[in-house]
């Protein structure tokens, strides 16, 4: 894992189970359609919680080569490092968008196997790391 244990998750987006990171999706009760993230508020009750597979295949990718404006709260200016963004198919029905680790971006090819990991992408006002989910090529996993 690329995150220290004391990092604060940015939101309730994933569970760490048996050394794997599993994204939390919702399955709509009405028709079984999957959606990520799990809806909040009144919509939440209309969905079952589903944990997505921890691995999948790269569906598309790009690289964010300039620092985004707010509400992005990761490193900017001299601290900014380009990061890849990918869509990864997890399971038969759903494709998830996320950041890719490590930076600088690894070489990516559509169809290659990817794994869900945790990534500290920013630090809060107290200097505490903020953590989100990310994808990483499976070859780079030790």
């Amino acid at each position: 894992m690329s995150s220290p244990m004391d990092a604060t998750p940015i939101a309730d987006l994933y569970r760490c189970i048996a050394g794997e990171v599993r994204l939390v999706a919702g399955r709509r009760l009405e028709d079984g359609v999957l959606v990520f993230p799990m809806p909040e508020g009144p919509e939440e009750a209309k969905h079952d919680l589903v944990l997505l597979p921890a691995t999948g295949t790269l569906w598309s990718w790009t690289v964010q080569r300039f620092a985004p404006k707010l509400p992005y709260d990761g490193p900017t200016g001299d601290h900014f490092r380009p990061y890849a963004v990918a869509y990864v198919q997890l399971g038969d029905n759903l494709i998830i968008e996320g950041r890719v680790t490590p930076t600088p971006p690894p070489s990516l090819t559509i169809g290659q196997p990817m794994r869900v990991v945790r990534e500290s992408y920013a630090t809060d006002a107290q200097g505490q790391p903020i953590e989100t989910y990310a994808f990483t090529p499976m070859e780079t996993q030790s």
Binding site: A11, L34, P37, R65, P71, L94, A122
Partner: protein, 382 residues
């Protein structure tokens, strides 16, 4: 149902207008459209208008005349201009109204847009972690399309090369210098596979059009292209759209495909009947995908089309004859109306050095977040 004609058109220079607010530019475009039709503001029964960053479009009224006419502000992302035109078209076609104006204007800060996730019904983390950028979406979408359909980076570059070449010939364009293909391909990468010159930039500008019923047009002794087909459509559950934390594996046709089919059907025309087209080209990838989504070619044929110059001026189907968003920039409220302004100039034989010979059917398509498309098909009146 009555036919709907565009009897007046006006544009305020796209790019940067120092010392002029977006509203000033909108008023300027309205005055030009009125002068073009030889009409007074007081003759108009209604207006529809939109602006993203330039304030309320109905703020043109105190400047042009508080006549008591109805005016409705339209907000539909990048498709705002197209949606304003559709609203006016429906108002006249229904028989309720006879004569009105549509206007769009904008003035954006430099650099990328920074949308607020909450306004899009998305969670805050999506914006905070740096996933909510239109530029990323454009890169992600064309990257997948290129892999599926064998399009290469040189093909992307040729789209921009053509846009800047057309911009040289266009008074209202922002970028008016040719850029060599090697410079386009070698410029700074922004969101792979798209380089700096393959993206349009937020800019400034305004456009206005005056629409009339067939009866009113004749009564006033005016003329202008007729709207043969016009449709706006939104996304289906399985379409690949901007600002999507997740997508369905089972893909649906895009809203552009839906709007295009509806407009062709309304017009009783097909892509083979079209003489020139303005297609949403926020980036080179968008123009390539929109060539296929609007029915002009099969997926993957774009590479050969561009090598052969089919979409250049003088080709079989000139696309983005005024340089499109790539050369004009994208003032969101005005951009869709610029496309139609350009088609009107082409159909009236006023396009000067970029005139498409014998243009009769002109097509325009504008795409907006979070997944809608507006298509308008015009026929010139000989």
């Amino acid at each position: 149902m009555t036919a709907v004609h565009i009897v007046g058109s006006g544009i305020h220079q796209f790019g940067r207008s120092e010392g002029m607010s977006a509203l000033d530019q909108g008023v300027s475009a309205c005055r030009k459209a009125l002068a073009d039709a030889g009409l007074d503001w007081s003759a108009l029964q209604f207006g529809f208008g939109g602006s993203r960053d330039g304030g309320n479009a109905d703020a043109v009224m105190p400047r042009l005349g508080l006549t008591g006419a109805q005016f409705i502000n339209v907000a539909n992302g990048c498709a705002t201009g197209g949606s304003a035109l559709l609203s006016a078209y429906w108002a006249i076609k229904s028989g309720e109204l006879d004569l009105g104006i549509v206007v769009g204007f904008d003035k954006h800060a430099r650099g990328s847009f920074n949308p607020d996730p909450k306004r899009w019904g998305l969670p805050a983390w999506y914006g905070r972690t740096g996933l909510m950028l239109t530029t990323q979406f454009f890169g992600l979408k064309i990257q997948r399309y290129m892999a599926l359909h064998g399009i290469d980076a040189t093909t992307l570059g040729r789209v921009a090369e053509k846009a800047f070449r057309n911009g040289v010939l266009t008074d209202h364009a922002w970028r008016r210098q040719e850029v060599p293909l090697e410079t386009i391909l070698g410029s700074e990468m922004v969101s792979d596979p798209l380089t700096k010159f393959m993206f349009c930039a937020p800019s400034e500008g305004a456009a206005a059009l005056i629409l009339a019923s067939d009866r009113k047009m004749r009564e006033l002794g005016l003329s202008g292209p007729v709207v043969r087909g016009a449709a706006v459509r939104t996304r289906l559950p399985g379409s690949f759209e901007v600002f999507s934390p997740s997508l369905q594996v089972a893909q649906d046709p895009s809203p552009t495909v839906l709007a295009s089919r509806a407009a062709y059907e309304m017009a009783s025309l097909g892509p083979e009947d079209v003489d020139l087209a303005q297609l949403q080209d926020t980036d080179c990838g968008a123009e390539i995908m929109h060539m296929a989504e609007n029915g002009f070619c099969a997926d993957g044929d774009q590479a050969a089309w561009l090598v052969d110059g089919q979409t250049a001026l003088g080709g079989a189907l000139p696309i983005n004859t005024d340089g499109g968003c790539l050369a004009c920039g994208e003032p969101i409220g005005a951009s869709g109306l610029r496309q139609i302004f350009e088609n009107v100039q082409q159909l009236r034989g006023r396009a000067g050095r970029r005139q498409v010979a014998d243009a009769r059917i002109a097509y325009s398509q504008v795409y907006g977040a979070p997944g809608l498309s507006a298509v308008v098909i015009l026929e010139g009146q000989s």
